[in-house]
């Protein structure tokens, strides 16, 4: 679980539509740390350092972030069907991004607008769900549905008014998910929220075990449930909003990777969360390698995550016969 992600990362850097020899890749990577006389083409260096590396790191961080968020939410809501978009963050971020496309904003502005909308959407959900200083799970879920449907409708509205020659395809492809926007600039703005959020979730992971027993029991055991819930919501929202803002809507990962984690290490959140982090990173990295290398065009991530993930999940499901629950 610790060795596989870096190994896959290196393997991913060797793959691509642009021919770069494995030796050159190794040299270029070493040259970033140790001073070396460049004996490789400048274009190869840009491919490896500016294009492949940021994209692979982005894939790993987004995959890891969405998976750990999904695992945390499934524990907190005590429901295995919950995924990261339950509180409306995906729909709200998606709407923000679509607005940015409509207004012809550049990539960075688009990312920031999508991120801000994602945070605002969840804040709205939280305010609607708040009842006399507590936020019951049912209230949260229902307000999440309200906010998500509202922003989904707004999102459809932007598609309705978008120019079919230019803006509409851009919005459509963006919604299907793609890591093509990954660059060093995009990394520098999207990674901090994902890392902070994931670290936060790892810190509270043992409290998740208590929370998963239910609000009443958790309170009886002396857990300040409102604080823990608030912290989890803040962390997952930071992660998901940052992920959606940079690569669009990537479904499936946040819902299914936690289950794969449970099959492998069991339901204890203390081990489950680090495990999903690693599995999610590997999964999205591999999927994105296929997305960018299989054809001359770019295959949208949203299509591949399920097309590749579903048979794999089915296989695991049959093999374990659902016994991990």
């Amino acid at each position: 679980m610790i060795i596989v992600p870096p190994a896959l990362l290196y393997a991913s850097l060797l793959m691509g539509r642009f021919p770069v020899s494995p030796l050159d890749v190794a040299h270029i990577l070493l040259a970033q740390i140790f001073p070396m006389a460049p004996d490789w083409p400048k274009s190869a260096e840009i491919i490896v350092v500016q294009i492949r590396l940021p994209r692979a790191i982005m894939a790993m961080c987004v995959g890891a972030g969405l998976s750990i968020s999904g695992a945390a939410y499934q524990g907190m809501f005590r429901n295995p069907l919950v995924s990261t978009d339950i509180l409306g963050v995906t729909a709200a971020s998606g709407f923000g991004a679509a607005v940015a496309i409509l207004l012809s904003r550049n990539a960075l502005q688009m990312q920031l607008i999508a991120f801000a909308f994602g945070l605002a959407g969840v804040m709205l959900t939280y305010l609607i769900a708040r009842v006399s200083r507590t936020t019951p799970v049912l209230m949260l879920v229902l307000s999440g549905i309200i906010v998500a449907s509202f922003f989904s409708a707004c999102l459809s509205g932007t598609k309705y008014v978008a120019d079919p020659d230019s803006k509409l395809p851009a919005i459509t492809y963006w919604l299907l998910g793609s890591l093509n926007a990954a660059s060093i600039t995009a990394l520098s703005t999207a990674l901090p929220p994902i890392i902070v959020g994931s670290a936060g979730l790892l810190l509270v992971r043992w409290k998740l075990n208590v929370l998963a027993m239910g609000d009443e029991e958790a309170r009886a055991l002396g857990l300040r449930t409102e604080w823990v819930k608030g912290a989890i919501i803040v962390c997952t929202t930071l992660i998901t909003a940052a992920a959606v803002s940079v690569c669009g809507m990537v479904g499936w990962v946040g819902l299914v990777i936690p289950h794969i984690g449970r099959m492998l290490v069991g339901p204890d959140h203390r081990t489950l969360l680090p495990a999903t982090l690693s599995i999610g990173a590997c999964f999205l990295l591999v999927v994105d390698d296929i997305a960018r290398t299989a054809t001359a065009g770019e295959i949208p991530l949203g299509i591949l995550t399920a097309v590749i993930g579903a048979p794999f999940f089915a296989y695991l499901l049959r093999k374990t016969r659902g016994s991990w629950q």
Partner: protein, 360 residues
């Protein structure tokens, strides 16, 4: 007593139903019964292979296709427009050349869906549509009102001539003549370019990448109007994918390593800037050589299915082969074109706005 009081009401309802049926009946047969000849019609075969019957005299046209709104204007039939789309009304140069477009009801949305009631209320004689392989879903609804729908091709530069001819034919005699004049001009321009570019060997044809949007990287591939004008202008499309606006990865662009990049899609200049500023594009040949250009845009985007495609081939040829076309003055040709076909004398700043694809 109660039942009795309902009786007259029921009778009235029944009677009104019969009356309505009676009134509806003669509506279609009355004119012939009275000896008035049926309205004269003619037939046109459209891009979907349907034979469509349209009135002999067409005075009212519905046309949601933004590029074709400019075509209708160019052919002199814009005053016949009775319904259009929001996207057509939002074209800055179309608004400038034909301010009335703002008051033409927008009966259609971006996806070609129609508000049937607005459309029927506009009482068009004919509805003009772009044919993308499927007939509009609302076709049956408008056919019930005897509103003919004429589908026009939308897939190649050759198809553009068909669009000009069909649009002229639908609109009337005068517009048909304007279309014939335009098609002659169009063919002359193509011939002028191809008699030079046809002789170019593959090695002298620069690889051209035409991007459709920058934020989400999409490019225009083979089998499209874009591919057609790149070939005519003496280039070869770098994007080895099929169709318009296809998403591709950054690395694939690097692997294609285009010699020239042409940035389509508003805001062209801003999207061009984004490419020049992005370190990932830095080592691509076109960027290194400073050959990244914004596509001009006028009454419609020059690079798409627009009347100005006749100018696009000149502009692209001069761009790709400046020495071969040293005597070709694209700006002068552009002035002439707008004066001759849009009856608008371009000022210097207006010319610059078209060449730079900024709003007038």
């Amino acid at each position: 007593m109660r039942v009795g009081s309902l009786k007259p009401l029921l009778c009235a309802v029944a009677l009104s139903g019969i009356a309505a049926a009676a009134l509806a009946q003669p509506r279609s047969s009355a004119p012939t019964a009275a000896g008035v000849p049926a309205p004269a019609t003619r037939q046109i075969v459209d891009a979907a292979g349907r034979t469509v019957t349209i009135p002999l005299q067409v005075n009212r046209v519905a046309d949601p296709w933004p590029a074709n709104n400019a075509m209708v204007l160019m052919l002199g039939g814009a005053d016949k427009l009775v319904a259009t789309s929001v996207q057509a009304r939002n074209q800055p140069w179309l608004r400038k050349l034909y301010p009335r477009i703002d008051r033409v009801p927008a009966a259609f949305n971006a996806a070609g869906e129609a508000n049937i009631e607005t459309l029927i209320g506009a009482r068009p004689d004919v509805i003009l549509m772009a044919y993308g392989g499927a007939l509009p879903r609302w076709l049956d609804a408008v056919t019930a009102y005897h509103l003919p729908v004429v589908m026009m091709p939308n897939d190649s530069l050759e198809g553009l001539k068909t669009v000009a001819r069909m649009t002229g034919e639908v609109l009337g005699e005068r517009e048909s003549q304007a279309a014939a004049e335009y098609i002659r001009y169009f063919d002359d321009n193509i011939r002028r370019i191809t008699q030079i570019t046809n002789k170019l060997p593959a090695s002298e044809r620069p690889k051209v990448l035409h991007t459709a949007s920058a934020g989400i990287l999409t490019v225009d591939g083979r089998r499209s109007v874009i591919d057609d004008w790149i070939n005519i202008a003496g280039g070869v499309n770098a994007a080895d994918v099929a169709g318009l606006g296809r998403p591709v990865s950054m690395e694939q662009v690097a692997a294609w390593n285009p010699d020239v990049i042409i940035v389509g899609t508003a805001p062209n200049q801003q999207n061009r800037r984004a490419i020049l500023d992005d370190p990932r594009w830095r080592e691509i040949k076109a960027v290194r050589d400073g050959k990244v250009f914004a596509n001009p845009s006028g009454a419609y985007l020059w690079d798409r299915h627009s009347a100005e495609a006749a100018l696009q081939v000149l502009w692209a040829a001069k761009l790709l082969h400046p020495t071969l076309f040293a005597d070709l003055d694209v700006k002068r040709e552009t002035r002439r074109f707008y004066a001759r076909f849009f009856h608008h004398a371009l000022s210097d700043s207006e010319l610059a706005s078209i060449m730079n694809a900024t709003a007038p």
